[in-house]
């Protein structure tokens, strides 16, 4: 069970550029901050600013407890005004951190092969999952884990070091500068036949285009797949109903689920990509 979320004042311990347009935020939190489950996220905001107004959702990349405090790591890509301002935060700046929020990944006991599929900073929640240990349980019998990491170019394969040595690694870059030359889902497609559909679980996070390709790829297989989705958020806690995705409700009906509360992790088969077309 997820522990109770809270709002904490975090302090930036380090803000390091890890690739062009990508940065790693290390935030010190009070010990009272609940331990996140892999796939959960936090909403962060600079309390000194009246604008941007809304907090920004960012997945947990790492979480550790040390003497007297907890350390949260976030792997971020500069997208717009909010993330651009975060990228320039200095050591010592404060941030409000709301979390941990949402439903993380669930690994059924019968899963023996886990495929982690990441595009860009989508690697963040998967790296946390890998390191946090959830993949090892329940009988501490080891599962086989293979990570498929994709990015535009080798430089942007952020978080690579958090996978190296902890699982099999397959990389794909759009420009071929590292690993397979092409989308990571193409690389996965090549390998897919080699995995046992019944005991394999795919856990994916990345841009919408990647998730959609994955959906197409898996449509005719019976491989289970959970994906972490992104949608614009206001509250992060299920109060505003702003962050919905369309879900197949049976009998051809559409339903809306909240990414912040019912997700961000969903079974890929539930998702309705374009309600006006598919519904």
């Amino acid at each position: 069970m997820a522990e109770k979320p809270s709002v904490a004042i975090g302090q930036v311990m380090e803000n390091r550029s890890v690739a062009p347009g990508h940065f790693l935020l290390t935030i010190q939190l009070p010990l009272s901050f609940a331990t996140p489950i892999p796939g959960q996220f936090v909403m962060i905001r600079d309390p000194e600013r009246g604008e941007p107004l809304l907090p920004r959702p960012i997945s947990v990349y790492d979480f550790q407890r040390e003497e007297g405090h907890a350390i949260l790591n976030l792997l971020c890509r500069v997208v717009g005004r909010g993330t651009s301002l975060f990228s320039r935060l200095n050591r010592g700046s404060t941030l409000t951190v709301l979390g941990p929020l949402g439903r993380g990944f669930t690994i059924d006991p019968d899963v023996r092969q886990v495929l982690l599929v990441a595009g860009g900073v989508g690697a963040a929640p998967l790296a946390f999952l890998l390191q946090e240990g959830s993949l090892l349980k329940p009988d501490s019998g080891k599962r086989k884990v293979t990570a498929y990491l994709g990015a535009g170019t080798s430089e942007l394969l952020t978080g690579l070091d958090r996978f190296q040595g902890f699982c099999d690694l397959r990389a794909a870059t759009d420009d071929g500068s590292c690993g397979y030359c092409g989308p990571v889902t193409e690389l996965l497609a090549i390998d897919l036949g080699g995995y046992d559909a019944k005991s394999t679980l795919i856990l994916a996070c990345g841009p919408a285009a990647m998730i959609r390709s994955l959906d197409l790829l898996l449509r005719d297989t019976r491989i289970r797949c959970q994906v972490s989705l992104e949608e614009r958020m206001a509250c992060g806690v299920g109060a505003c109903q702003g962050c919905v995705v369309a879900i197949k409700e049976g009998e051809g009906r559409i339903g809306y689920r909240m990414v912040c509360k019912d997700g961000p992790v969903f079974d890929i088969g539930e998702i309705l990509w374009n309600p006006s077309v598919d519904g």
Partner: protein
Amino acid sequence: MEIEADKKTVVPGRLAVDICGLVLKNPVMTASGTFGYGEEYAPFCDLNRLGAIVVKGLSLEPRQGNPPPRIMETCCGMLNAVGLQNVGVRAFIAEKLPFLRQFNVKVIANIFGETIDEYRRVTEILTRAAGVHAIEVNISCPNVKKGGVAFGAYPDAAAAVTEMVRGETDLPVIVKLTPNVTDITEIARAVESAGADAVSLINTLTGMSVDIERRRPHLANVTGGLSGPAVKPVALRMVWQVVRSVKIPVIGIGGIMTADDALEFLITGASAVQIGTANFIHPAATMEIIDGIEDYMIRHRIGCMKDLIGSLQTDGC
């Protein structure tokens, strides 16, 4: 601090307000649609400390709302086109109200309909439920009979809805006004005459935002409701106009983020306030606003809300 706490308990009812018979611990409520059904913010707020909780707008049948994207941030504000997604009034009573009944807090049900009869039926059902203390009637909802124009945009339609709800319940009826009108006092007077016990304002201002790269609106619904600090000056102006036009209590809403903002509305004449978008920015906003109002009153030696509400001086301005 011990002394602080002590000072505060000297006058336990310092913050109490009576709005058309509804006695609230303090004038701070949550605004409809921004606090879910209470549960969502229970980890961050002591719900017992709130003046009242106004729940997400309820309709007769469940509604799935608009397609995404539903929200977009703007300068010091946000647009939403949630489309009044809700579980429906019956599921609310069965699944959400029992949770709220655990707390010592007034629960106000916000309702809407696409026909006057729908308003009536929702009111009827809620009046029979235990644990609903007042009805807030959202008249910003499109009137399907009048071609989708909001009930709240014209005095006659606003009055008709109010009269129908008023006739159906003994609970206090608060009518929530839309700011998208030429003269909000005209609507306020119409609903007062039709039997409203109080008015609350403002609902969101209609706005829009465009993604210039894709040359498409940011919201799937094209337009949405603007809320947050950006709208506060408009909300405050309308509260000021309405308090001088009607005799019933006025509840101020719109862009209230801090105790200072809430005080602006109270001083201007609002008998209570509702906190909306601020909850998203700071989940414990309501708690800090309650404390801040009390601190202000202690600092300014104001003994009760009556002496604060409407104390604005405009002579010589």
